[in-house]
């Protein structure tokens, strides 16, 4: 498990709070509730307990602000909420492909008749066998990466989804830098240059930035307390059968730290 610097700070704060409670109450009754695992999430509980303990004993301990648990390098699982379409609105994770000369905002997009949405420009993504995107390590495609008819087989991040009649899959290429995502005051950035799509026997880098450093990095948001995130990026396809097309990726879900 990788313990990040913010997590360490929070642990110190938690133990400090625990010591304060012990000193104030002179009792060990709350020990089981306030001993957190070494993850960020229980730290919030500990902060809440601090307030309760202060109330019970009328000791004037100031109410602490909820601490930002998800800050700095986020190493772990960015779980993927399966995309859905309801009343014309797309919720959750999806993919779009912009035709050459278009823009991610306005298209034109490639319509995917296999889309579950009324607006077939959206291809919904469903959670994969790993639960989503893992940072800090790679989720390589299987070898071979395709079945006999060119369907992509990588299924760890998102489940293969039919796109243009053939299964479209995603993985992170282990020969590139392992994915990293960093949170700064609720804003996400990072390096997803290893992100790769597999379709119709073709392999398409869909990284952000691209492995050569060109292109924009992913952007997104995260709730510092709950880990609910949204991250999106665009990636121009360079070379191959879709040379000049641009992939638009949008993932939503909840982050959980490794370990």
């Amino acid at each position: 498990m990788k313990v990040t610097r913010p997590t360490t700070r929070m642990l110190v704060a938690t133990f400090g709070a625990f010591a304060l409670i012990t000193a104030a109450c002179g009792s060990d009754d709350d020990t089981a509730d306030t001993t957190p695992p070494a993850t960020a999430a229980p730290t919030t509980v500990a902060a809440a307990d601090t307030t309760m303990a202060a109330t019970d004993t009328t000791v004037p301990v100031p109410v602490t602000e909820p601490m930002a648990m998800y800050e700095g390098d986020l190493v772990g699982l960015f779980s993927v909420n399966t995309g859905t379409c309801a009343d014309g609105a797309v919720v959750g994770s999806y993919f779009q492909m912009v035709q050459p000369g278009g823009t991610p905002e306005a298209g034109p997009f490639i319509a995917n008749a296999d889309s579950k949405c009324t607006d077939t420009n959206y291809t919904l993504l469903a959670v994969g066998t790993d639960g989503g995107l893992i940072t800090g390590s790679s989720q390589a495609a299987p070898d071979p990466a395709f079945d006999g008819t060119g369907n992509g087989l990588a299924a760890a991040i998102v489940a293969p989804v039919t796109f243009f009649g053939s299964a479209f899959a995603a993985a992170t290429d282990p020969t590139e830098a392992a994915p990293t995502i960093t949170a700064t005051a609720g804003t996400l950035s990072g390096d997803l240059s290893a992100f790769t799509a597999y379709w119709g026997t073709g392999i398409f880098n869909q990284g952000a930035p691209k492995p050569d450093g060109t292109g924009a990095a992913p952007t997104g948001t995260i709730d510092p307390e709950t880990g609910v995130f949204m991250i999106e990026w665009t990636s121009l396809i360079a070379g191959g059968s879709f040379d000049g097309f641009t992939g638009v990726w949008h993932l939503e879900g909840t982050f959980s730290a490794a370990g």
């Binding site: 490639i110 995917n112 369907n151 243009f164 009649g165 119709g200 191959g240 059968s241 879709f242």
Partner: protein
């Protein structure tokens, strides 16, 4: 007189040798020739009759499907399931295929025809020595000719008789003439030129982007046929099984994708390679780039040898 002829021969050979050695640099062959080799390698899977035939088969499959679409539309309109305008709006992807099919078919068939017509030319070029070696075929003999020529000039300065070196020069000249003959370049290189000329219209960014658009049209239509139109046709009491062409199109589509996708990728990824090769001098000229310099060197050496007498006589007649 003899020494003057020998000096003239050596000087001529030196110029030819330097010219040969410099040619690859002038033509940027060190960067362009390997790109040509990459292109030849990448096209290998597609330059076989069986592959071209399978692509033609896919075009026939799609053609049959497109032909049936009008019947499906008419049936649904005639039985009141949908109005013509609503059909065209609801199945716009299918309509686009119907409207564009003649263009797509002509364009794709032209590509296949060009590839088919150049099977023999491709085989001839592929049988040439590896492209990355091409520049060295100029540099190495050029350096050798220049080196021998320099040694002749040097020996003449010292008053020595360069008869053996003249023989070496003559042999080099003959070898340079023989090289294109040995590699059958007089027959193969012009075929390479024909292939380059034939591929030129299809190996452009614009043409590849057209093919990409065709692919998008085909994929969009196939999906709409399979996911929405044919189920709607069945619901409207149509018989999808009777539309064998459409059924076959959808059945074969994943295979078509997996076959066409890498071919389009090969075209797209080799545009720069093709342009690099196209920027080289015409393939048909290549054997003459060896034969002419080789003939000049051999002829000059022969003249010098013929005009010279024995080394002893030479030394006696023309002391330094």
């Amino acid at each position: 007189m003899t020494r003057r002829v020998q000096r003239w021969t050596a000087t001529t050979a030196l110029v030819v040798g330097i010219g040969l050695a410099a040619a690859p640099f002038a033509f940027q062959m060190f960067s362009r020739a390997p790109l040509g080799g990459t292109m030849i390698d990448d096209f290998e899977p597609y330059m076989v009759e069986q592959k071209i035939d399978s692509f033609r088969g896919y075009m026939n499959t799609i053609d049959a499907a497109v032909t049936e679409i009008d019947g499906v539309r008419s049936a649904m309109v005639d039985n009141g399931t949908i109005t013509p305008d609503a059909f065209d709006a609801q199945y716009s992807g299918v309509l686009q295929l119907v409207n564009d099919w003649a263009t797509i078919n002509a364009d794709m068939t032209d590509l296949l025809d060009r590839m088919d017509a150049n099977m023999g030319n491709y085989a001839a070029v592929a049988a040439l020595p590896p492209f990355p070696m091409f520049p060295w075929f100029f540099v190495l003999p050029g350096v050798m000719v220049a080196g021998v020529a320099l040694s002749i000039l040097w020996s003449l300065r010292d008053g020595a008789a360069p008869r053996r070196r003249l023989w070496a020069l003559a042999a080099l000249g003959v070898a340079i003439i023989a090289a294109p003959v040995a590699f059958q370049m007089f027959t193969r290189a012009p075929k390479g030129g024909e292939m380059i000329d034939s591929f030129r219209p299809m190996m452009t960014r614009e043409r590849v982007q057209n093919v990409q658009r065709h692919f998008v049209t085909l994929g969009g239509a196939e999906g709409q046929l399979r996911v929405t139109l044919m189920p709607a046709y069945a619901a409207a009491s149509g018989d999808p099984a009777a539309a064998e062409g459409i059924t076959e199109f959808s059945t074969e589509w994943p295979t078509i994708v997996s076959e066409f996708n890498p071919m389009i990728a090969t075209m797209s990824d080799n545009i720069d390679n093709f342009q690099a090769v196209d920027a080289l001098p015409s393939f048909a000229l290549f054997p003459w780039f060896f034969a002419i310099p080789g003939a000049i060197v051999a002829a000059a050496a022969a003249i010098a040898l013929r005009s010279s007498t024995s080394p002893t006589q030479l030394s006696e007649k023309e002391p330094s």
